[in-house]
Symmetry: C2
Subunit: 266 residues, 2 copies
Amino acid sequence: MKQFTSPLLQQTYELRQSIRRKEHTGVTSGLVEGAMQGNVVILPADWANEFLLFCQKNPVSCPLIGVSEIGSFAMPELGNDIDMRHDIPEYYVYRNGEKVESRSDIEDLWQDDMVAFVLGCSFSFENALSKAGLTPRNIEEDVNVSMFDTNIATTPAGRFFGNTVVTMRPYTPKEAIRAIQITTRFPKAHGAPLHFGSPEAIGISDLSEPNYGDAVTIKEGEVPVFWACGVTPQAVIRNAKPPICITHAPGKMLITDILDTDLAVF
Amino acid sequence: MKQFTSPLLQQTYELRQSIRRKEHTGVTSGLVEGAMQGNVVILPADWANEFLLFCQKNPVSCPLIGVSEIGSFAMPELGNDIDMRHDIPEYYVYRNGEKVESRSDIEDLWQDDMVAFVLGCSFSFENALSKAGLTPRNIEEDVNVSMFDTNIATTPAGRFFGNTVVTMRPYTPKEAIRAIQITTRFPKAHGAPLHFGSPEAIGISDLSEPNYGDAVTIKEGEVPVFWACGVTPQAVIRNAKPPICITHAPGKMLITDILDTDLAVF
């Protein structure tokens, strides 16, 4: 086992190793306080430029924090000894826009022309919310965050088009106002919410039936607050239908060595 | 007429002079873009220390931007040649907690022991909202902002206690999120909202019947957003019952020479 002088770098390295050995296979929310987590999209090179443009046009749902060299499964700017083929707890494999399997490892699917993209994740601001006394309900209830498909269109780029996926956390209005201020500081983790209140207004029919993740309790006096989510590319890939695309499973993220606060503003 | 090198200082001076001559007697919202406006509270000296403490304990509803010397009706830190006895379009006079009259001038009521307090006003962020495409409805409809008594308790200080008064501006949730970000920059103008959504949750029964100011249209898909208001001292004075207290009439403020952006953060 490698040794690092920074306790945080030791923790992130050891967690990635534990994920690589498939000892940790669950959701990563709340793990290694202070370390950014990332959404993952892996595409063949001839789809990568258009996806890069898609991220540029949709920086709130797709805040890029890392792009690999073509064919390289390392991600040195995001962490020590990252191997994108092994270091995510669960992968989804999409072929021609359809999810065909989920698996713990993609070594045998890796191609020499693949490019890996890592997008910031709202888990990065959950720590800041918790420290402010606004612990997200999904953390309180120890479940995956609720994620929903919406009718909020992304800006298309090349073959990529579709609607935004959101995470939902319930708060009282007073708490929501503070949560908006806090999450505004984290533009690389989706920043401020897109919406609060009426789910129907953004095309969500039932908050108890999330499209991804788990339902959480909404208490009397609380309103649902919706943030853009890095699962958005998975909705878009269903439309674009690339021959192959590999993503993380929602809630099971890449653990990076970057601090949440490194990419915060103010 | 005095001449100033700064066009803004010329404008604020001339508007105050026009108010002093009682040529301008109406609400001041939207006048002299960029200049801070202030709520006014004038109290005898033996009530002033407790009111100062009240403001310190309630900085969101009572963001102090100026305090006069005892007996002085000038306010040199807030503007050239301000005379607190003449330069507000309309004054309210409270005796023993009851509003007994409104008048355009208080020269004959001024006492040698009076202290004038000026508190920031939400009109200071209305300009920033308008520039962001979020023109407040009261400006669009050319009426005074809607103000409401609430059940949100202030923190008491000495003889001062009571509930917070709020202003209300309707926005869609998406607009409200942006308005929260924008107004957060203006802590001396009440900063971010206190509440959005259900009026009943903060003790307001009917948005079409404001306690002060005018009702505004709320459109389909909009939610009411509530900011703390510098009329709060007037609600508190009704409880504290000082022998005399003079305030501005809601919406008819002191025009200062301070820039809205001078006291902004970020």
